[in-house]
């Protein structure tokens, strides 16, 4: 119980004035197929007329990938952004498109989002950046990148059958993470949902990354360096010795992290 209070104390005395977390959102995307802003305006106008409330204050992403090959800076971004704002939408980012278009977007203070379906230079990110460094949208493809053998049954649920080694990070965006092998010390597991580990868990496990207080960690052999649910964490030093090496579940009870034998 000592630990629970330690993490709470931090909150109380203000040494944790904020938390950095990853979250994923479902957003409407406007995929441009045509350079002609006039044509876009006409069609969009009709759409908005049908459901004006649906579009009011709605954040949208502008997808430029459909304009491939239409020449540099093909989409007239400032006009388009003005148009969307005029309809009450909040355009906040673009994805796809050329370097020139990205520069134009940045000039308009729009975010340039990476396309999660495009294969990227994956290894650097998987091995490099701390979680705090990368935007939520960048984290999603990491499991696939860092774990060549990771088997993705469907969106948001991730199964890993090979050992997770020191320095590797696996993130199950929007769902549960199951590992059927060992997790080495120095490895990091993250999931928006629950985490299940069927080998020894020697690394870090962070469940409920997007703030889900109901998330739990289940493991067969707890030797973890750190466990965390929705930001409430406990380090190895504060895990009671009778809980080590036995099957346990870890969950939040009134915002207090609890470890219980299974």
């Amino acid at each position: 119980m000592a630990v629970n209070s330690s993490s709470q104390n931090n909150d109380a005395d203000g040494s944790r004035s904020f938390e950095l977390k990853a979250a994923s959102f479902t957003l409407p995307i406007i995929r441009l197929m045509d350079n002609n802003v006039e044509a876009v305006a006409a069609r969009l106008g009709k759409k908005v007329e049908k459901a004006p409330h649906f579009f009011r204050n709605t954040p949208v992403v502008i997808d430029l990938s459909g304009l491939a090959g239409s020449g540099a800076g093909g989409a007239d971004l400032p006009l388009l952004v003005g148009l969307l704002r005029g309809y009450g939408m909040i355009p906040f980012g673009v994805r796809g498109g050329s370097k020139e278009q990205h520069a134009a977007a940045e000039a308009l203070e729009l975010a340039v989002l990476r396309d999660s379906y495009v294969k990227r230079d994956k290894t650097k990110e998987a091995e490099g950046a701390e979680p705090e460094d990368s935007a939520p949208s960048e984290q999603a493809p990491q499991p696939r990148a860092s774990q060549g053998q990771a088997q993705r049954a469907n969106q948001g649920f991730l199964l890993v059958t090979r050992p997770v080694r020191s320095g590797q990070r696996v993130y199950a965006a929007g769902g549960d993470l199951s590992i059927t092998a060992a997790v080495s010390s120095g490895a990091e597991l993250m999931a928006d949902g629950n985490i299940h580990v069927y080998g020894p868990l020697r690394g870090r496990a962070l469940a409920g990354m997007s703030g889900n207080l109901e998330a739990r960690i289940f493991c067969q052999d707890l030797q973890a360096e750190l466990v965390s649910i929705a930001g409430h964490y406990r380090v190895s030093e504060n895990i009671p010795s009778e809980m080590r090496g036995v099957p346990v579940q870890i969950f939040l009870d009134q915002k207090v992290l609890r470890i219980e034998k299974l």
Binding site: R162, S166, P200
Partner: protein, 269 residues
Amino acid sequence: MARIIVITSGKGGVGKTTTSAALAMGLAQQGKRTVVIDFDVGLRNLDLIMGCERRVVYDFINVINGEANLNQALIRDKRCDHLYVLPASQTRDKDALTKEGVDRVLTELSEGYDFIVCDSPAGIEHGANMAMYFADDAVVVTNPEVSSVRDSDRMLGILSSRSRRAENGEEPISEYLLLTRYDPERVANGEMLSVDDVQEILSLKLLGVVPESKAVLNASNAGVPVILDRESDAGQAYNDMVSRYLGEDVPHRFLNPEKKGFLSRLFKG
């Protein structure tokens, strides 16, 4: 097509170069056409261990840069006809290893050899990445101590995510564990991690256990791969390792402290 083997560890000083020399010599003695490449550009040692430091004219980087062809740079071992050494450059740094250049050299070597042994530098930076990127098999050299085991674990993670096989979604690199500098007596006294302790963390196929031995330093000083020292325990352990790598089922030796003789036991107390 040659099989490309990388000898790697993450941590320095665990015996990568000694192992590279021993494995290459062992394979060549079994009649396999073998070439061993030093990837430790700027800190080359393999030529010393192989005893060919006085015969280096051109090196790996010269070949990558097109300043020499492979035949000019390859050094044929005087003790074994099937073995060639490709030394590293001592005057350049690791950035001289370009992915395209390494790929070209390995592809060219693949046609004429059965095995290509890549002696990786320590660390997880560019040089080590280039050594392991094209590998088919990896021998992870580990000492029975926690820092070496953790570094090996980290290296295994990199092997499974940053190699060509991983990037192309092919069958992953076959990973083997080689424990070196193993001291059975200290293990028995609980001062050193045992084979089982290491295996519990790394869970890999165990290729061999090489005992701590004076023969290794002597062999390095003499420029003779220790595998040629048939009298020594380390030489025998490396021989077993080569046989195991080639698929033979050889029992592990040197795992337990040497049995004290009758007389020494009698007079001990």
